[in-house]
């Protein structure tokens, strides 16, 4: 009897203790903002230092709000984020890019950021940055960084082959044979199925004056003369050996890429710093303008933080996001990460770096993608067909017609 009483007493104390602890937790959560971010600042020590000083700066202004910045790995980020959200253990806000915005919006997960940002910040964003995260007239991500994938040319290759950086498709095709004779590729095309079409086919489509989606987003506009023209141009690059063929199917490995071997003249699908990482240094990089056919256009990612509808303390999130997108923090963040600011008032971040200063000039020429709830499904249909064209298994006309036919029921659903 005595033993039973002791057991029951211990059980009651345990349960009460748990209840009290969970009560304390609930109290804490009301003043805590949880944010998921990724290794955008690639140096872990610099990343940790940035978030420590940023949270410290915020807490100096808002001592009653705790901020929990959770650094997650890039791998399987959608899988881990959706699993956490489904389990009710998701963050209040997370780093998102335009490719993701449509899908998360379609799942009714995001809140419009108009509710979270001051008017002066919203009106200060570059149009292309805000358009890329806008669904049905409302932006759903607070952009914090931008990239411009202008041309990154290897000056050693250009000098050795005796050519100038091209500005148009015709100029690229004109210098390509000379580069090939000298043992170099004219450019680099990463065409494996894991690479976003933004970083390969779409930018050539945009340069040809085409679009991926129709105006209302309910049909595929890629099946067009511009789409065919873009694919024929790329096919010409592949068939003539002006790009490395194995990159059409193999995943990107920076240290094994032809850039690392100093074999490519100009790269248009990577940010200059990424090209520099593959080459071992940015010393020999010369920035060239984005290519032009009908339109001068380049891809450039816009990254920012989206607020989930289940945010536990919207007022605290509002305070944190306003601080995070302030001109001071945005300058610090982009300088540390090697990106550019999506705010028009935050410019000239790299006055002592001619390469970055030159790249910054092309921010307004970048297209950060075409947001659509079915973006990823269309990529899944289109990417293998584009690959089939470049491997010589389909014609451009046939592949694009097939893509439009497969995408139609998905886009209309």
């Amino acid at each position: 009897m005595g033993r039973t009483r002791k057991f029951l007493t211990a059980l009651t104390v345990g349960l009460l203790g748990s209840a009290l602890l969970s009560g304390c937790g609930a109290e804490d959560q009301r003043n805590t903002v949880t944010m998921w971010t990724y290794p955008i600042i690639t140096d872990p020590a610099a990343d940790r230092a940035f978030w420590e000083r940023t949270v410290e700066g915020f807490r100096a202004e808002h001592p009653d709000i705790n901020v929990d910045v959770v650094s997650r790995p890039w791998d399987d980020r959608d899988a881990s984020l959706t699993m956490a959200l489904m389990a009710g253990k998701g963050p209040d806000l997370a780093y998102l890019i335009p490719d993701q915005v449509g899908r998360y919006y379609d799942q009714d997960l995001l809140s419009p950021i108009e509710d979270y940002l001051p008017e002066r910040t919203l009106t200060d964003y570059r149009d292309n940055a805000l358009d890329a995260v806008t669904m049905d007239g409302k932006p759903y991500v607070a952009p914090i960084l931008m990239a411009a994938l202008a041309g990154s040319c290897d000056t050693r290759v250009l000098a050795d082959a005796g050519v100038e950086p091209p500005e148009t498709w015709d100029e690229l095709l004109a210098i390509a044979p000379k580069l090939k004779r000298a043992g170099y590729y004219a450019t680099y095309y990463q065409g494996d199925l894991d690479t976003s079409l933004n970083m390969n086919f779409y930018q050539f489509l945009w340069q040809a004056g085409g679009k991926v989606f129709s105006e209302d987003g309910r049909s595929l506009a890629v099946d067009s003369p511009a789409g065919v023209q873009a694919l024929r141009f790329l096919k010409k690059l592949v068939d003539n050996g002006y790009v490395e063929r194995s990159a059409l199917t193999q995943a990107y490995q920076p240290d094994q890429s032809p850039m690392a071997r100093g074999e490519v003249a100009c790269v248009y699908n990577q940010a200059p710093l990424d090209v520099g990482n593959a080459m071992g240094s940015t010393e020999h990089i010369q920035i060239a303008p984005p290519l032009t056919e009908q339109v001068q256009a380049a891809y450039g990612v816009v990254g920012g933080y989206g607020v989930f509808q289940d945010a536990r303390d919207p007022a605290a999130v509002r305070a944190w996001l306003s601080y995070l997108t302030s001109t001071e923090v945005m300058s610090d963040y982009n300088r540390t990460a090697g990106y550019f600011s999506p705010r028009e008032s935050v410019t000239n971040l790299y006055p002592d770096d001619p390469m970055m200063s030159e790249a910054e000039k092309y921010l307004d020429r970048t297209i950060p993608g075409e947001p659509n709830p079915r973006f990823q499904e269309v990529v899944n249909i289109l990417a293998p067909l584009v690959q089939a064209v470049l491997l010589g298994q389909r014609t451009p006309e046939d592949a694009l017609a097939e893509a439009a036919s497969q995408a139609e029921p998905i886009l209309r659903s």
Binding site: M86, Q107, L193, S246, T249, Q250, Q376, N380, Q387
Partner: protein, 309 residues
């Protein structure tokens, strides 16, 4: 008579009492046994059966990340039947299994036969054969991507015997055999282990008698060893088929499902539909098809294995 009756009755009563006591003991022992099994049973229900059942239910619905559930009946299955991508993924999965399962079993049997006898370094060989099973699949994928590249050893071997040098992973024809070969490499070590265990049961006298009667190595293998190995082979067929249906990691690293969907398996399709497209209901339907396929193979094995026993 009376005495006898009484004794008999007494004896029967005694038996009955003993029987009841045994029943009580069995009953008590049974409860204790159940108590021991209970944690595993609860874990099985929570982490195996529950999610599997949830997956089946999901296949009849549309489910959003936000938690809203809308019943759709057989709509996801109708979509599946009309989806050429699904049929391609099913074909790729079956071809992958048809290549990898027989090769894995042949390799496992051959290597087990070679290392069954005690000789200097036999244990080392057996350990080395098992190494791929415990090697990271991602790492294996990266290494084999290089092996199959134009500059890799595979191309050199092909070139030395007069074949043209091509990157198999770039070819829609050869990419699937290439990833299936990697599947064989990652799995044959487990098969060797099973086969070696089974080979210990082959009666040595039978083999010696056959040898005395002039039977050659092939005849001894075919008439004596192979019949003894049959249960192990059927077991490996089921296990390896199940694994081959779930192939993902090396394919993800080596080809991302390409080129042009040449290595796009059902698990790849399931992953993409759920975590890229957020179409969890449709992914659930793919999962059910995968489950049914695996179940059919397991049932066939059970029927065949049952007859063998």
């Amino acid at each position: 008579m009376t005495t006898v009756d009484t004794r008999d009755r007494g004896s029967r009563d005694g038996d009955a009492r003993q029987g009841n006591a045994r029943k009580r003991r069995i009953s008590r022992g049974g409860w204790i046994g159940l108590a021991f099994v209970l944690p595993v049973f609860v874990l099985f229900l929570a982490f195996r059966f529950g999610p599997a059942l949830g997956g089946v239910l999901l296949s009849f619905a549309n489910y959003t990340v936000g938690g809203s559930l809308e019943w759709k009946g057989l709509l996801n299955y109708q979509r599946l039947i009309a989806d050429p991508g699904f049929w391609n993924a099913l074909r790729v999965t079956l071809v992958y299994a048809l290549i990898s399962v027989p090769l894995t079993i042949v390799a496992a049997t051959g290597l087990a036969l070679l290392t069954r006898r005690a000789f200097r370094g036999a244990r080392l060989y057996r350990s080395v054969f098992f190494l791929p099973v415990v090697t990271s699949l991602i790492l294996a994928g990266v290494v084999f991507t290089w092996i199959f590249s134009v500059d890799g050893p595979w191309s050199s071997i092909l070139e030395s015997v007069g074949f043209p040098v091509t990157n198999w992973l770039e070819s829609s024809t050869f990419a699937l055999p290439a990833v299936a070969l990697v599947g064989v490499w990652t799995r044959f070590g487990y098969g060797v282990l099973i086969m070696l265990a089974k080979l210990q049961e082959v009666p040595k006298e039978l083999e010696e008698a056959a040898l005395m009667d002039g039977a050659g190595p092939w005849q001894r293998f075919r008439r004596i060893v192979l019949p003894e190995l049959r249960p192990a082979i059927f077991f490996l067929i089921v296990i390896e088929t199940t694994f081959s249906f779930q192939a993902f990691d090396t394919i993800y690293v080596m080809t991302s499902g390409g080129p042009v969907d040449a290595t796009y398996t059902l698990v790849f399709s399931l992953y993409r539909e759920s975590f890229a497209n957020f179409d969890f209901g449709y992914a659930g339907a793919i999962g059910v098809v995968l489950f049914v396929l695996t179940l059919i193979v397991a049932l066939i094995q059970r029927i065949v294995f049952g007859k063998e026993s």
